[in-house]
Each structure stands twice: as structure tokens, then as C-alpha cells.
């Protein structure tokens, strides 16, 4: 099933993507955003921290393509650099959370009954924390920083992944093909690796790709409550939050912070769904 060589996989992926316009759009969007943020340092027309109070909240002009914020800083440059924060927060947080979630979820779903109960209790405990209170406590204890924000998001996201993985694993566990493998004496690891993982990867991938915007949104929410990244670091969350405060003065911060967020969401969701279709073993070889 998974014996295809890497270059073969790549080629097949592209072949499949070409046939799926939404997936292709998603892929292009993701690439574009990655490019823009990675090269923000070269692309940004201004220093994102350069203050020019007398030119604050101006509309787009030749000098400032997306206008300026309440301190007269160039919004375009801040959006570009803010993308780095957004991507760092979401990619790091999601991959770590997904990794742990996958591991713990499969353990719970496939492991002994007592371990399952213990883990589920742990997931539910963490999930039941009111996010605001939890964030406040963590931030107060470790000091406000980008890493704290990432940490808060990881801890609150692990149980989401783990629960979904566990539910899927439980459902798979009694399926005929897994029972058959077991009867043939396959090790638990082998079963997890070759049968459970490919099967649960699909919903998980969707969840993860859709979590990119959720995480950026959470960062925005934390900034709204004053618990986001430390100023003057630009992030899409703080730009949106500024947009909320200064909506009447200028609509541009909300537009400038919101559009990349929508682009990221669309990009990752459709690209993710497309990938899932390509890699889902049950959908392989089917005429689309």
C-alpha cells in the first residue's frame, strides 16, 4: 500500500492536484503565503516597527499599500512579518499537538482498558479548563511571550486530536481486517503503523489543516483579551485587534489582517482535503 517510492508519490500528488482545481488553488495559496512570509524581510517595503505618529491610520497610498496603523507603522510590512508569527505559532503548535494527540489517542484506543480511562479523564480535564483562565494562569506564571502562546495552544489542542484519534481507533479496532491481522500474529505496532494510522490520518489531517486558522484566530482572541504576543511584535492577531479598536478610523487593519487569515484558511483546508483524497488508501485508484 505504502510502497510507492518518494518521487513517485510526489509525481502522483501533482498529477492528482492538477485534476482538482480547489486543491490546486489551496496548494498555490499555501505556497504563496509561505513564500511571502518566509521572505518578509526582503519583501516588506518598510521596517514593521517604524513609528510615525503623525501619519497614523492613513488609507492605502503609493507609500503604504495597505495604509498605516495607529502608530503610523506600515500595515503591509506588519502583515508580512505577522505571517511569520502566525505560521510559527500554528505550525509548531499544531504539529506538536497533533503528534502527541496521535500517540495518546492511539494508545487510549488500542491500549488496555485502564489506560484508556486514565487518558480520557486526563483529556477531559484539560479540555474542560476555561481557555481564558488557563491562558491567564500560564501567562502569569511564565511571562508573556510567543512561546507561552504556543504552549497554551498546544496544551489545549492535544485533547481535541487525541479524542478524535481515539474514537476512530476504537471504531477500527474491531474491524475484520484488523482482527484478521491480529489473528495472523501481527504486532500491535505493526497494526497501528500500517492499518490504524493510514485510516485515522484522514480526519486528523482535515482537523489539522482547519486548525491553522483556528489557531491564528485563537491568537487573535488572546490579543483581544490582552494575552497575545508582546508588543511591538506584529502578528495577524494583534493587527486584527487593532482593527477592532480603530474600526471607525480606518477599515484597513481589519481588511489587512483578515484577508491573509482567510487565504490561509482556504489554502490549508482545500490543500489538506485534496491531500487526504490522494493519500486515503480507500480512495486510491478510484476514478475521480
Amino acid at each position: 500500500m505504502n510502497q510507492a517510492k518518494p518521487q513517485g508519490t510526489m509525481a502522483r500528488t501533482f498529477q492528482a492536484l492538477k485534476k482538482d482545481p480547489l486543491g490546486m488553488t489551496g496548494f498555490v495559496l499555501v505556497c504563496l503565503i509561505l513564500f511571502l512570509t518566509v521572505f518578509a524581510g526582503w519583501l516588506a517595503p518598510h521596517d514593521p516597527l517604524e513609528v510615525d505618529v503623525h501619519n497614523r491610520l492613513s488609507s492605502p497610498s503609493a507609500e503604504h499599500w495597505l495604509g498605516t496603523d495607529q502608530l503610523g507603522r506600515d500595515i503591509l510590512s506588519r502583515v508580512l512579518f505577522g505571517g511569520q508569527v502566525a505560521l510559527k505559532v500554528s505550525l509548531v503548535a499544531i504539529s506538536v499537538a497533533m503528534g502527541f494527540g496521535l500517540l495518546l489517542g492511539m494508545l487510549a484506543g488500542f491500549g488496555p482498558r485502564w489506560l484508556d480511562r486514565l487518558l480520557v479523564a486526563a483529556f477531559d480535564t484539560v479540555r474542560s479548563f476555561p481557555t481564558i483562565m488557563f491562558a491567564l494562569a500560564v501567562i502569569a506564571l511564565t511571562g508573556p511571550s510567543l512561546n507561552t502562546v504556543i504552549g497554551v495552544i498546544i496544551i489545549t489542542s492535544i485533547p481535541v486530536y487525541a479524542r478524535v484519534v481515539r474514537t476512530q481507533t476504537l471504531a477500527l479496532r474491531e474491524r475484520d481486517f484488523i482482527l484478521a491481522e491480529r489473528a495472523m500474529g501481527a504486532s500491535t505496532f505493526r497494526i497501528l503503523r500500517h492499518h490504524v494510522l493510514p485510516n485515522i490520518a484522514a480526519p486528523l489531517f482535515i482537523l489539522a489543516s482547519m486548525d491553522v486558522p483556528a489557531v491564528v484566530g485563537m491568537e487573535a482572541g488572546l490579543s483581544f483579551l490582552g494575552m497575545g504576543v508582546s508588543p511591538p511584535t506584529p502578528s495577524w492577531g494583534t493587527i486584527l485587534n487593532d482593527g477592532y479598536s480603530y474600526l471607525r478610523n480606518s477599515p484597513w487593519p481589519i481588511i489587512a489582517g483578515g484577508l491573509p487569515l482567510i487565504a490561509v484558511t482556504l489554502g490549508f483546508t482545500f490543500f489538506g482535503e485534496s491531500l487526504r483524497d490522494i493519500f486515503d488508501p480507500r480512495l486510491q485508484g478510484k476514478d475521480r
Binding site: V53, R56, I139, G143, S245
Partner: protein
């Protein structure tokens, strides 16, 4: 500009002023009250309050949000007069005068009835209300505002004398005309066991309390038994709305008649004014400043602190964070108050050249790295980012640590371990009150490690502080308070930013009234069509 001009109000001594004003008002008290036109008779006023109430009992109110309601449903001997200077006017008293440094005589207007059948207000009620504020068993939150108040001597049914342990220049404005001076009915308070929270047992005044719903609103209604000047609104609905944006939207949606708004919307509102509305931009009495911990190793050299003072362009900070609406400040004491300093020693624009020279003279290796703590409030975060930018221009790299407000309040406190040593720069703001002593009280040496995080300590300052509190010579007090602010600035521990601003938007159908620090005086609100 001459340095020691006094605002006209303080041209005479406080005592003379009070007597003359009380006499002038005495004439009014006996005459018939002007009746308002029928048009406003069933009018309802909808107003935003910036937070919810937690208690209306004068011993346990915690904020001016509660003061707004208290001052509307209870009577005080004196009340704050609307306007731009702190003055008092007669309210429940028909006569009030200072007879010595520590004694104040009063006589109540007869016939002021408490609601719910608790009868007429007497001097004994005044005695009860004032003395419970300083009764140690009450653990009153507001006891400090009463200062050295001791007790009340009752002479007859209506008159008595307020007695202080020692002279207290802020007694009238802060204690008598403040929330702590609200007069409650002794009988009513006995019936509810001596305390209440959000359900007053009885009221006195043109408006009475009807209901309160947590996080929603407080409803006040016209007190039909009131025999004084009648309430002009049939009902007043006071909404608990902590978010400025929410308040602005609700006003625009036509659901509020009156709301405090944030500084940044003043300009857009001016350009596209909501129909039939008016903006009022008043100075506030707060004190915003950048503090420097002079005992932190990086800041022990006064030249470094001075360099920071000179490096910061206060005009740019105020322009950015207050949208240019607030004036730059010359110290904790705001304009319109005794002791206000007409000019700061260091120009608000600063002087980056001088800052660089000072750093060079101090032999500091640049870039100098410092930390600036502030709260996460949007306005503070904006302000410190401008400071950060100004400081960077002279070679000081500041990292900002924005802390949740509750956490921020602990950083300089000695009862929280040794973290106060690490405090370097911080942006702080304190609320002001009706008297200059209140704005200065946090900077005396006794406050080091409590609220004095700069650890500023100056013997002359401490001496003047005590002296000014006791003197009744306003000219002398004015000079003392100005000198104290010079001393603060000279220490290099402070860069004064602003006294803030309080913008409000009010429907044209309402004639609003404000305290000198921009807070609403609900009782003085009138429908606009009322004949003068």
C-alpha cells in the same frame, strides 16, 4: 507665564470662600423651586456606566461607577459643583462653614424625607453615616478618604459639627462631597443589620433606587415623595458596559442617550456625527507617567534617568495613545486643581541630543538594554511603543513586557518577594480625586515598596506633603504642591505623560453635567428643553 498664578477660585482662602458661597446659596434654599416644563416629565435617561456595581453601601463602594449611582440616590451635606474647577455647593445642608482648623458646622434643610417611611433626615443620621465610615468594626474600604475625621457633635434636630483630629484640607471635596459623605437613615440601616450591598433600604433625594440586575443595569426612578427640586427624568437606566466599542455602538444604535467613549473615536465622530448628538471632551484627573526604579542597578545613575526623561517625546506619546485630545501633563496634579504646575522642567517634546549627551557623560555603553513594564490595555500598549521608538533613537533598546493588569500591580510591591529589584521602567496610571494631596500621596517615602515603585525618596517632599495637607492657606499650598512636582521631576524618576481625557457623547435632547474630572453628575442632568 508667571509661575505662581492661582486659579481665581483659590484667590481667597478656602474658608472665606465657603462661607460666602454658602451664604449666597442660603437665599436660594428658601425660595420656591423652579418647575420644569411638562415635556420632560416622563422622559427616561439611558446612560452607560463603565463597569457593574458591586455595592452601593458607602463603606464598600469600590469605584466611581458606584459613586455615580450613590450620588444620585443619596444626599450629601455638600456636593461637587459641575464645571472645570473643584468646588462644592450646598446639598442636604442649608448652611455649612468651617469654624476652626478641625471643626465644620452644618445645618440641614428641614423636611428632607427618606423613602420607605423612614422619616425626616436629622443631624443624628449625619452622625451615624459619617461615624460608620471610620468605625474600625465596619472595615470600610473608603475609610482612608475620610482622613483624620473623628466624630460628629449633634446640637439639635438639624444642626451639628463635624470634628476632625487634625486639619485636613481635602475634607470637603473628598469626604463630605464624596461617596463617604452620603447620608443614610440610621433607622433603615438598623433594620437591615447595619450593611447592605446592592439593595439600599431607603434613599433620599430626587431619585430613588428601583432595581439592579447583575451585568445588566440599574434602574433609578423619580422619588415622588421628594419635596426638594423634583427629578427631571421619570427614570434613569444605568447600563453596565465595560467595553468602549460596545458603548459607542449602542449609542449609535439609539439605545443610549449618553456614553463615555474612547479617545480614538472622537475624530471619526466629529467627521460623521451621529444624529442629534454632541461631543464633550473633558480633561480627566488621572495621572499617567513613566516611572523609573532608581534602585535598579541600571538606573542608579541619575544621568541615565534624565537621559530617558529627555529622550521621550511626550507629545508623540499623547498624540498616538490619546489621539492628540489630551494635553501633555506637568505632573500628577491636573489642570483646574490647586497645585497644578503650569510648566514642566523638561519640555514635553524632549531633547534627544541632550539625552545622548547625558548617556555619554554617564559613560554608558550603548545600546543600553532595559525592560519597560505596562498593562495590556490597548492605550498603554500604544503609548509604550512610542516611548520604545523614542528611546531607540538615543541608543536605548527597550523590551516591552505587557502584563495583565492584576499581575502588573504586584511588580513593585515588596510583599511579593524580591521582584521589585528587577523593575526598571514602567508605565503607570493612578486615578485622581478632588484634592491635590490625593494625587501626591503615593510618592512619599512611606509608600516605597507599596505604591512608590520608583523608590523615590526626598525629605523636602515628605515634609511639604504633610504641611500642605494641614494648611488652609491655599496660596501657600499651591506653591508647596508645585515645588513637590519639581522635586519629583528633578529626581529623574518620572517622565509625566498626561492627565488623560474623558470624551463623552450625549444626545442633544439632554443637557449633561460633569465633574471637573469628566465623570457624569447624573443628578444635574436636565432635558435640553427645560427653561433656564
Amino acid at each position: 507665564m508667571t509661575k505662581y498664578t492661582c486659579p481665581p477660585v483659590f484667590g481667597c482662602s478656602r474658608r472665606d470662600f465657603l462661607q460666602s458661597s454658602s451664604l449666597a446659596l442660603l437665599g436660594l434654599a428658601g425660595s420656591s423651586w423652579p418647575r420644569i416644563s411638562g415635556a420632560g416629565n416622563d422622559a427616561v435617561l439611558h446612560i452607560r456606566n463603565y463597569m457593574d456595581l458591586s455595592s452601593l453601601d458607602p463603606v464598600s463602594t469600590i469605584s466611581l461607577a458606584e459613586g455615580l449611582v450613590c450620588m444620585t440616590i443619596f444626599q450629601n451635606l455638600l456636593s461637587v459643583r459641575p464645571g472645570s474647577h473643584w468646588e462644592t455647593q450646598l446639598e442636604a445642608a442649608e448652611y455649612f462653614a468651617q469654624v476652626s482648623d478641625t471643626r465644620y458646622d452644618f445645618r440641614l434643610r428641614p423636611g428632607q424625607m427618606f423613602t420607605h417611611g423612614y422619616g425626616e433626615m436629622t443631624a443624628d443620621d449625619v452622625k451615624f453615616s459619617f461615624e460608620r465610615m471610620v468605625d474600625p468594626t465596619m472595615n470600610s474600604i473608603n475609610a482612608p478618604e475620610m482622613g483624620p475625621f473623628s466624630h460628629v457633635e449633634v446640637h439639635d434636630r438639624y444642626s451639628g459639627t463635624l470634628v476632625l483630629h487634625s486639619p485636613y484640607s481635602a475634607f470637603l471635596t473628598i469626604a463630605v462631597a464624596g461617596v463617604g459623605g452620603s447620608i443614610l437613615s440610621r433607622a433603615a440601616m438598623m433594620d437591615v443589620g447595619g450593611r447592605f450591598s446592592t439593595q439600599p433600604p431607603c434613599c433620599c433625594g430626587p431619585y430613588q433606587f428601583r432595581s439592579w440586575a447583575a451585568q445588566r443595569k440599574t434602574v433609578l426612578e423619580r422619588n415622588s415623595d421628594w419635596n426638594g427640586p423634583p427629578a427631571v427624568f421619570a427614570e434613569i437606566h444605568v447600563y453596565a458596559m465595560p467595553d468602549d466599542k460596545a458603548g459607542e455602538m449602542a449609542f449609535e444604535a439609539g439605545q443610549l442617550d449618553c456614553a463615555q467613549i474612547s479617545a480614538e473615536v472622537v475624530e471619526p465622530f466629529e467627521q460623521a456625527m451621529p444624529p442629534d448628538s454632541n461631543l464633550h471632551v473633558l480633561p480627566s484627573g488621572r495621572n499617567f507617567w513613566l516611572g523609573m526604579n532608581q534602585q535598579n542597578a541600571a538606573l542608579t545613575d541619575i544621568r541615565v534617568r534624565q537621559a530617558i526623561q529627555y529622550a521621550i517625546d511626550v507629545e508623540a506619546v499623547v498624540e498616538a495613545a490619546w489621539f492628540g485630545l489630551a494635553a501633555t501633563s506637568n505632573g500628577p496634579i491636573p489642570q483646574g486643581m490647586l497645585g497644578h504646575r503650569p510648566q514642566a522642567l523638561i519640555p514635553p517634546r524632549g531633547d534627544p541630543e541632550k539625552a545622548r549627551a547625558l548617556l555619554k557623560a554617564a559613560g554608558i555603553a550603548l545600546p543600553l538594554r532595559l525592560r519597560l513594564d505596562c498593562t495590556t490595555k490597548a492605550r498603554d500598549v500604544t503609548a509604550v511603543q512610542v516611548m520604545q521608538w523614542s528611546l531607540r533613537q538615543v541608543g536605548i533598546e527597550v523590551s516591552i513586557r505587557a502584563l495583565e493588569p492584576g499581575t502588573f500591580l504586584t511588580i513593585g510591591m515588596e510583599d511579593r518577594g524580591d521582584q521589585w529589584r528587577d523593575v526598571q521602567l514602567f508605565m503607570q496610571d493612578f486615578v485622581g480625586a478632588a484634592d491635590p494631596y490625593y494625587s501626591m500621596t503615593w510618592f512619599i517615602s512611606e509608600q516605597i515598596g507599596k505604591w512608590n515603585w520608583e523608590r523615590f525618596s526626598n525629605a523636602e517632599f515628605d515634609r511639604l506633603y504633610k504641611l500642605a495637607l494641614k494648611t488652609s492657606d491655599t496660596r501657600a499650598a499651591d506653591r508647596m504642591y508645585q515645588r513637590m512636582q519639581d522635586l519629583m521631576e528633578e529626581s529623574g524618576c518620572y517622565r509625566f505623560i498626561t492627565n488623560g481625557v474623558m470624551p463623552s457623547i450625549v444626545r442633544n435632547s439632554i443637557k449633561s453635567a460633569f465633574r471637573p474630572d469628566g465623570y457624569f453628575l447624573l443628578r444635574e442632568f436636565r432635558p435640553a428643553d427645560e427653561p433656564a
